[in-house]
């Protein structure tokens, strides 16, 4: 009884602390983005949108935002396509070395980002495609495809194995079945994978910084501003990046959790 009570008191505190440590820095960053003082200190100054006005009028920020948008959207589509193909190959076929095949596919996220970034830079400049916007797209697709594959693979495992045969049996060709059965069935997972890979790409700094050359994405721009001086603009940009990623992740979650969604063919 008493241990139960202790647990009832301590557990919420413990969970509360975890969330506090995770979110407090972000929340403070958001608060400081509306703070009139130049230095992030308490007590706060007055409320202002000055920093937001400033970033909205800064062509560098606009360019970086556009770069980030192009990179994350392209990455999302490429990574999700690759992820879908590998997940389907795993679902449909049995072949020799399938274990190593899957292990290799899932490997990229386990490599330290900095190593990955350096390796990408070396490799991309070797084959002469570094320093381009799509260099980042290539690198990010490699990095995020495993996430897409994992999500779509989970969904495929929920599928009645007879569903595909049922479509063939009713006159569906292989491609027709892919289009009218497999893809619609995986749609929640596909949308979820699109959002998640976009979010990861939008946030990613290390790889972008190494391979981007002169094409800065938002995280790279933030670092450059911070390196020069302390500028509350960073908080404003940070808030924008955070809200974008958060929205994408939440949308991803919603789609992933909805198992039965209706769509018409």
């Amino acid at each position: 009884m008493s241990s139960n009570r202790t647990q009832n008191i301590l557990l919420p505190i413990y969970v509360g602390l975890i969330f506090a440590f995770v979110f407090a820095p972000i929340i403070f960053s958001i608060i400081f983005s509306f703070n009139s003082q130049r230095f992030p200190t308490i007590p706060l100054g007055s409320f202002t949108t000055e920093w937001y006005v400033k970033i909205l009028n800064d062509p560098d920020v606009w360019e970086a935002a556009l770069n980030s948008l192009i990179v994350s959207v392209s990455t999302a589509f490429i990574a999700t396509f690759l992820g879908f193909c590998t997940a389907y190959s795993d679902y449909r076929y049995n072949f020799r070395f399938k274990g190593p095949y899957l292990a290799l596919i899932l490997l990229p996220p386990t490599i330290p980002l900095i190593i990955m970034a350096l390796a990408m830079l070396a490799w991309l400049s070797k084959i002469g495609v570094s320093g381009q916007l799509w260099s980042i797209v290539i690198a990010h697709s490699v990095l995020t495809a495993p996430f897409a594959m994992a999500i779509i693979r989970l969904r495929l495992h929920q599928m009645d194995p007879d569903l595909e045969s049922a479509s063939w049996n009713l006159g569906g060709t292989e491609w027709g079945t892919m289009r009218h059965v497999i893809v619609p069935f995986c749609k929640p997972a596909i949308v979820s994978a699109l959002c998640l890979t976009a979010a990861v790409s939008f946030d990613e700094f290390a790889v972008s910084w190494f391979v981007s050359g002169l094409n800065k994405t938002l995280p790279v721009l933030i670092l450059e501003i911070v390196q020069g001086n302390i500028d509350p603009q960073v908080n404003a940009i940070g808030t924008f990046v955070f809200l974008t990623s958060m929205t994408l992740v939440i949308v991803a979650q919603l789609f992933f959790l909805s198992r039965q969604t209706k769509s018409s063919i």
Binding site: D162, S167, Q260
Partner: protein, 361 residues
């Protein structure tokens, strides 16, 4: 002579070292209701999947309308299948599920919708056309699955244990729906099941399979009365199998000595040898009971163990003095003439010509 609709000609299916179907020869006529029955793993589902093109035969030929089907892709065939799992598309409504096959065949949207609604209406679930599959009951899903196959206007419909997921009372209802549909449409039904009652209640002809081989093909009544061998007799159930040695042979009769007693056999259709070991089967509904010792050729005294009522029919389970189980099936009103309690001593008897001698393997 023209060939039957479907012909299995020495068809074999191997999976690695395992042979699922062995040298199968079977002909299925147009408009026939054929049930393929057997215990799990006997090869019945593999047979059906080969007919649908989902498995390719390892040897032999499957012909449909005289055309060799071995290498024809599933989507090029006209053999819709009703799946055990139903395999309805969960992301589509009932109507869209029914439309699926027509859509794959390139039928226009308006015509698809019309046919789908017609079939749903015909199967009594028209009002659920726009419902999500997940909101339908088991029986309703079953009908959607049936409509989805029938809307293709096939020559032959394959059914793989379609009723196994339904409640008992729904099974009986669906059996009636299926038989009626089959008569009305005049198309061939190939129905795979492990349930004897389903197969016998609906099929014109029953194929009994065991270990990848056909054990017997025949009309339900013939299989029930005259099972070809011990496997069929045991699988069909509701009968009594007795084994013994031939002691005396007369013109058209033989005496069989069994641990349960001496019984007469009619040997006009078979030749038996003195001292041969023979099994015969006697259907449970051909056994008479009495309290006094009857003046019958074949009789055995048993102890009543239990009774099982199914509707107006009752099955008595009895045991002879040496512990052999006997089953007797009769109308409940017949039984009520006797005042029986458990452990009652009862005489069983049967006519010699009711007994059916099993092929000895």
């Amino acid at each position: 002579m023209t060939e039957k609709l479907v012909v299995f000609d020495g068809v074999e299916k191997r999976f690695g070292d395992f042979t699922a179907v062995k040298k199968m020869n079977l002909e299925i006529g147009s408009g026939e209701f054929v049930a393929i029955m057997g215990p799990s793993g006997c090869g019945k589902t593999t047979t059906l999947r080969m007919l649908a093109g989902l498995e390719a035969p390892s040897a032999g030929e499957i012909r449909q309308n005289g055309r060799v089907m071995n290498d024809v892709k599933p989507h090029e065939r006209d053999t819709p299948l009703v799946w055990q799992s139903l395999a309805l598309f969960p992301f589509l409504t009932a109507r869209e599920n029914v439309e699926f096959g027509l859509k794959m065949r390139g039928v226009g949207a308006a015509e698809r919708k019309k046919s789908a609604l017609e079939w749903l209406e015909k199967l009594g679930i028209g009002e659920f056309a726009d419902r999500d599959i997940s909101t339908l009951s088991g029986g309703q899903k079953q009908r959607v699955a049936l409509a989805r196959s029938l809307v293709m206007k096939p020559e032959i419909l394959l059914l793989d244990e379609p009723l196994s997921a339904l409640d008992a009372h729904l099974v009986i209802r669906m059996q009636a729906v299926l038989t009626q549909l089959q008569r009305e449409l005049g198309i061939t039904f190939v129905y795979v099941t492990h349930s004897q009652s389903e197969a016998f209640a609906m099929a014109d002809r029953v194929v009994i399979m065991s270990n990848g081989e056909i054990a017997q093909v025949g009309k339900p009544k013939d299989i029930y009365r005259a099972p070809a061998n011990r496997f069929v007799a045991e699988f069909v159930g509701r009968n009594n199998i007795l084994t013994g040695t031939i002691t005396t042979l007369a013109d058209d009769a033989a005496t069989l000595s069994t641990p349960q007693g001496e019984f007469l056999l009619d040997t006009s259709a078979t030749t038996l040898r003195q001292g041969e070991e023979v099994s015969f089967v006697i259907s449970a509904d051909l056994v008479h009971i009495s309290l006094e010792a009857p003046k019958a050729e074949n009789r055995v005294q048993c102890t009543l163990i239990s009774e099982e009522f199914v509707g107006s029919m009752v099955t008595l389970f009895l045991e002879s003095s040496d512990g052999h189980e006997f089953k007797v099936q009769m109308q409940e009103r017949e039984l009520s003439k006797f005042d029986l309690r458990n452990d009652a001593q009862i005489w069983l008897s049967w006519d010699t010509n009711s007994a059916h001698i099993l092929d000895q393997e």
